[in-house]
């Protein structure tokens, strides 16, 4: 009997033979189509960045804590420049203010995992690992005079995810996460991409150089095209964009 004439009853132990053969062939076809779909979808994803999060790899660091505009570890280095500055963040979507806020200007030893992308490096602190090495307090340096005053068009991202914890750590699918990170104290960065696709990063602060976070979240400006006009300062090897958050513009 042909498969079309055979009648299938699911609770009977045996399917009619011709029908079973037909169904088998169709299931294999479905399976093949599904696997082809998996192949195409996974192959045609956008390239992932080469950013790195050394998850589970804990290193030890020594340096001096700065907390303005955001917590960072300043590690002196030989050669040109005064020091390397590593942004500090805590576990999850939290800044490091609670861990190091009271240690401004103090020398510390701490442990954490590196997060890095291009020339930017961050440390995710191992909880409870920060240890003050002495009682001396060095005043925090003032940022340089504004080297430039310019208007930038870019996207506000949270530095932790974008520098390597998540891929992708920008654009709309990541918006909610970036919002929570910035709300939790992770420093926001303006990501500016030029015509050649080269990215540059500007640490965002308010016009006085203080941290921003709540304002950015309240205005819902994360992960959308924005235009910001402000003064560019250098803080060691970091570029900082000072601008009043109330004047940041969403580009519809």
């Amino acid at each position: 009997m042909s498969a079309a004439r055979e009648f299938y009853v699911g609770y009977l132990p045996q399917a009619p033979p011709a029908l079973a053969r037909t169904v088998r062939a169709r299931v294999l076809l479905f399976l093949g189509l599904g696997l082809a779909g998996a192949l195409l979808i996974t192959a045609f994803q956008q390239p992932f960045s080469k950013a790195v999060f050394e998850f589970g790899k804990v290193r030890s660091f020594e340096g001096r804590i700065e907390v303005r505009p955001y917590p960072m570890l300043v590690v002196e280095r030989p050669g040109a420049g005064d020091a390397s500055r590593y942004l500090l963040v805590a576990f999850g979507k939290h800044g490091a203010e609670a861990e190091v806020g009271a240690l401004a200007g103090r020398r510390v030893r701490l442990e954490g995992s590196l997060v890095y992308r291009d020339d930017q490096t961050m440390i995710e602190l191992a909880e409870g690992s920060v240890e003050a090495l002495d009682d001396s307090v060095r005043p925090e340096p003032s940022p340089s005079q504004a080297v430039d005053s310019r208007t930038f068009v870019g996207e506000i991202v949270d530095s932790k995810c974008f520098l390597g914890v998540m891929k992708p750590g920008n654009l709309k699918p990541h918006r909610a996460c970036a919002t929570r990170c910035i709300s939790g104290g992770i420093p926001p960065i303006l990501l500016v991409t030029d015509a050649e696709g080269l990215a540059s990063y500007l640490l965002l602060t308010d016009a006085q150089g203080g941290p921003v976070g709540a304002e950015v979240v309240a205005r819902g400006l994360v992960a959308e095209p924005v235009r910001i006009t402000g003064a560019v300062h250098r803080l060691g090897d970091l570029r900082v964009l000072r601008a009043d958050p109330s004047a940041w513009e969403r580009i519809e």
């Binding site: 998996a38 996974t42 919002t179």
Partner: protein
């Protein structure tokens, strides 16, 4: 026909079905992750797992939605329909994995709870392009949960068939929400035309199959009432109905399955009481009308399931005059015995 319920009433065919389904899911995830990491060694495991689970669920949803119309168009797809609810529950579990992992990844470990974050982290309800797509996915997942949780004959019986059916029609709303979740979400960042093309292709397949099946069904709903005489309607020649099979006609707005078996003819409502399966596309096996979807059975002369089962469908009076079958469009109460009409020239 379950009068006593088990969590899962496995039988040999269901085991084959479920093993094949599981193998398919595992192979899909293996190909997605294996090829994905080979081609994108810089990718993070979280992103790849999220995408593997999400796309697996979405692809399986297409299969779930396609099986119904495919079975209407070609009865050789019916074996795939038999255990479709296991496919639906599997699809929900994949979607749940995607949703739960996303909630943890994007909303967890922050300054507010993950569910609060889901509701407040993207306030751009005023913009289509920036619309909070994750809420669309969450709503779809909730609907899929309702369907998966009630995907059992216990709920079919206790909710009643119309309510259960209406609830499970929400799968189309869930599908629409997921399409928008994808369009307003990941496709805003993943800009390959191939990915958007696959989404459109999937929608065309789902919509096209439903339209084709609906078009085919229209012919069945052509009323025959103009051929009525003495309260009966001529539904065709006895010889045109294959042995142990039925002809489906529409009488008084309802589909009626007119079965021929031996020299007799009996007419029943075409809608199986279980899930409205088309009884008229079934067969008479061991003396019982057997539904092609899940094998529910009814006695042809009274529309009642064999004891101890309790399902009953309406019956209709029949006559055979000069080799033609006549059926009364007046439905008898479900389970009412109606003497089968006999073809005098076919008496054994």
């Amino acid at each position: 026909m379950g009068h006593a319920y088990q969590a899962v009433g496995w039988n040999r065919q269901k085991k084959i079905y479920d093993r094949t389904l599981l193998l398919g899911v595992v192979l899909y995830l293996a190909v997605f992750l294996g090829v994905g990491f080979a081609l994108h060694p810089e990718a993070t495991a979280e992103t790849m797992i999220l995408r593997a689970l999400g796309t697996a669920a979405f692809m399986l949803l297409h299969v779930v939605l396609a099986i119904g119309p495919l079975s209407r168009l070609d009865s050789r797809f019916l074996p795939l329909l038999y255990n479709r609810r296991h496919m639906g529950v599997t699809m929900f579990l994949l979607a749940f994995g995607h949703g739960a992992f996303s909630l943890l990844q994007f909303h967890g470990f922050g300054d507010v709870g993950p569910l609060v974050s889901l509701l407040v982290s993207n306030p751009r309800f005023d913009s289509l392009a920036q619309f909070p797509f994750q809420l669309l996915g969450a709503l779809a997942l909730f609907l899929l949960f309702l369907m998966a949780a009630t995907s059992h004959d216990f709920w079919l019986t206790n909710l009643t068939a119309p309510v259960w059916k209406a609830l499970h029609m929400l799968v189309y709303l869930a599908y629409g929400l997921i399409v928008m979740h994808v369009v307003l979400g990941v496709l805003q960042a993943e800009t390959s035309p191939l990915l958007a093309g696959l989404l459109v292709l999937g929608m065309i397949v789902v919509l096209g199959l439903h339209l084709a099946a609906g078009w085919r069904e229209r012919a069945l709903d052509e009323p025959l009432d103009q051929l009525a005489r003495e309260g009966f309607v001529d539904v065709g020649a006895f010889e045109e109905i294959p042995e142990a099979c039925a002809r489906v006609v529409t009488l008084g707005g309802d589909r009626v399955a007119v079965f021929r078996y031996g020299d007799r003819v009996s007419a029943l409502s075409n809608a199986c009481q279980h899930q409205n399966g088309p009884l008229g596309e079934g067969r008479i096996i061991d003396g019982f009308v057997t539904c092609p979807w899940h094998g529910y059975q009814y006695k042809p002369d009274c529309g009642a399931s064999p004891e101890p089962f309790t399902e009953r469908v309406p019956t209709f009076e029949t006559r055979i005059v000069d080799g033609r079958v006549w059926v009364s469009p007046v439905a008898q109460a479900p389970g009412t015995y109606v003497e089968p009409a006999r073809h005098p020239g076919r008496a054994r």
